[in-house]
């Protein structure tokens, strides 16, 4: 399991939107500041500088806010600082541009606060609409403060005032919609971030737990198995007392069972470790023919008892060293040779050959065994898969050998190939990169 790190595309698009929004916002605020100061220029120079400073502060504040607070969980203090800054800005701007159209404009701080407090999308929109209606009514009443009847009220409309009020209302509605959209995005984002955060923590915890589990399980499984295998071996050797032929035969069989149990346990534990990449590969150049020769000589006894010949073919002397993790490649070769021996009847042979081709070193293990039915080939490398016993004799295995081979090779970034003909035998081969000469 890997932890989630890359944000989803929708979030990246959203962040890009935020960037555009931020830029536009800062430009607008500076623009207003400059306009206001130009207006003030005719009255008093000192005030213009003050307004520049004010606009600059609000712009920087907005930038910092968007950079550091925006996507986090909003808090009451952030909401109030935000509202305070905007309130100061609105009042000074109004003061600079010749007075307020309406003090009700200050009510727009309410939707800002509710957005920052993440109170959902409906509340800011409702507040905005409510304030818009209030301001509209106030504007109408300002145009004609004392309407005596509805006719006089309508007749007294100044077209400029209507235009101005309509523009105000339109912009107010846009502000409301804008706030609503931010609010929705904010709440979604917060929800997603919280969920991703929780999931991440959970994954890390499970991962650590699995690591520890593998380590402890390995040790705790191995300890009784060590005692079992060791004890049976000591018993069989007659070190606890001489055994009768019958007893020897019986303990020998028990010992075989313990060996198989131990093999399954080791294979499973190795897989857990490999799958977790805990066994970091130690890639270095090594002498593949020398390793093969050692494995072949060590496995002669095992093959000899089945009357299967093990052969290592001559390799060209110019063969470069192979790049890989020698200990893991040893496991790969041992598993492949052991499989070959297992599925080859008496009198047959298993041949290991190494050659190089185009910067790669190819190792093949060819047997003269029973072969693999074509329909079974794609199942071979599956965990716990065992080819049906076609030899009609006990071919014991864990069904993990080829899976481990595939796992190790895929950690090397390489693959394992297989060619087989029923009754003729099979050839398994894997490639490794050749080390540069020198």
């Amino acid at each position: 399991m890997t932890a989630l790190t890359t944000p989803p595309i929708s979030e990246r698009i959203y962040r890009f939107g935020q960037f555009i929004e931020k830029t536009v916002f800062i430009v607008v605020i500076f623009g207003i500041g400059i306009l206001g100061s130009t207006y003030l220029l005719n009255i008093e120079v000192a005030n213009r500088d003050f307004l520049f400073l004010l606009s600059g502060i609000v712009a920087i504040y907005t930038l910092l806010y968007h950079q550091f607070v925006y996507s986090r969980q909003p808090t009451i203090s952030v909401a109030f600082i935000d509202a305070l800054v905007y309130a100061t800005f609105i009042s000074l701007l109004n003061h600079a541009t010749g007075g307020l159209q309406s003090p009700l404009f200050f009510l727009y701080l309410l939707p800002i606060i509710s957005v920052r407090l993440n109170l959902g999308s409906k509340l800011p929109l409702a507040i905005t609409l409510f304030i818009s209606i209030l301001i509209f009514l106030e504007l109408l009443l300002t145009v004609n403060p004392n309407p005596t009847s509805i006719n006089i009220f309508l007749a007294s409309f100044d077209p400029d005032a209507i235009y101005s009020s309509a523009t105000d209302i339109l912009s107010i509605l846009l502000v409301g919609l804008y706030i609503r959209s931010i609010s929705i995005e904010l709440s979604h984002e917060n929800e997603q971030l919280t969920q991703i955060g929780k999931l991440n923590e959970e994954l890390k915890r499970v991962d650590r737990g699995k690591d520890e589990f593998i380590q402890i399980a390995s040790h705790e499984i191995r300890t009784p198995l060590t005692a079992l295998r060791g004890g049976l071996a000591v018993l069989l050797a007659g070190n606890v007392g001489k055994l009768t032929r019958d007893q020897q035969d019986f303990v020998g069989k028990l010992s075989g069972a313990a060996d198989r149990l131990s093999a399954v346990a080791e294979d499973s534990l190795n897989i857990s470790a490999l799958e977790k990449h805990r066994l970091n590969l130690k890639i270095s150049p090594f002498d593949l023919p020398a390793l093969s020769a050692r494995i072949i000589s060590e496995m002669q006894t095992e093959a000899g008892s089945k009357k299967v010949k093990l052969v290592l073919t001559d390799h060209p002397h110019t063969l470069p060293k192979a790049l890989g993790d020698e200990a893991r490649i040893e496991t790969v070769i041992r598993n492949l040779v052991s499989n070959g021996v297992k599925f080859t009847p008496s009198g047959g042979s298993v041949t290991l050959s190494i050659r190089s081709s185009g910067g790669k070193i190819i190792t093949s293990v060819k047997d003269t065994g029973v072969g693999i039915p074509p329909e079974e080939v794609h199942n071979l490398f599956r965990k716990f898969y065992r080819v049906e016993n076609v030899m009609n004799e006990s071919t014991q295995g864990t069904g993990l050998g080829l899976y481990i081979v595939k796992l190790i090779m895929s950690l090397h970034g390489e693959t394992v190939g297989v060619e087989s003909e029923l009754g003729q035998g099979s050839t398994f081969s894997f490639t490794l990169k050749a080390a540069p000469h020198g």
Binding site: G230, A233, A237, N239, A265
Partner: protein, 122 residues
């Protein structure tokens, strides 16, 4: 004179199995089940080789190794780790602390393990 081998192993059954195998092969074996008594024994008695487990309650094998190397008398005895821990980092640490060998217990039958450590018995 028979070579003296000290087996430090908390699992009594495994310790007993090694004890029997060692005796059958003509060694003089002594078995201890915890790190603390092992350190005490090694500073007062002479041994030709120590087989040392790692996962033990209280003082673990690596702690024991560290202590042994501090003492002039015990520092000279070759120590072979015999543990079922197989993490590279553990093996590296043990060798760094001065163990002459590291055998993964499950991979060796007692007779095989003993034939492996024979080379350290000069």
């Amino acid at each position: 004179m028979a070579k003296r081998i000290l087996v430090i192993e908390d699992d009594e059954l495994i310790a007993q199995i090694y004890d029997r195998q060692l005796r059958a092969e003509g060694y003089e074996a002594k078995v201890l089940h915890d790190g603390k008594s092992a350190v005490a024994t090694l500073t007062s008695e002479n041994f030709d080789l120590v087989l040392l487990d790692i996962m033990m309650p209280g003082m673990n094998g690596l702690d024991v190794l560290r202590e042994l190397k501090k003492n002039f008398k015990s520092a000279k005895v070759p120590v072979v780790m015999l543990s079922n821990l197989s993490e590279d980092s553990t093996i590296k640490e043990a060798l760094h602390l001065g163990a002459v060998g590291y055998l993964k217990k499950i991979d060796y039958l007692p007779a095989q393990a003993i034939s492996e450590v024979k080379k350290f018995l000069s």
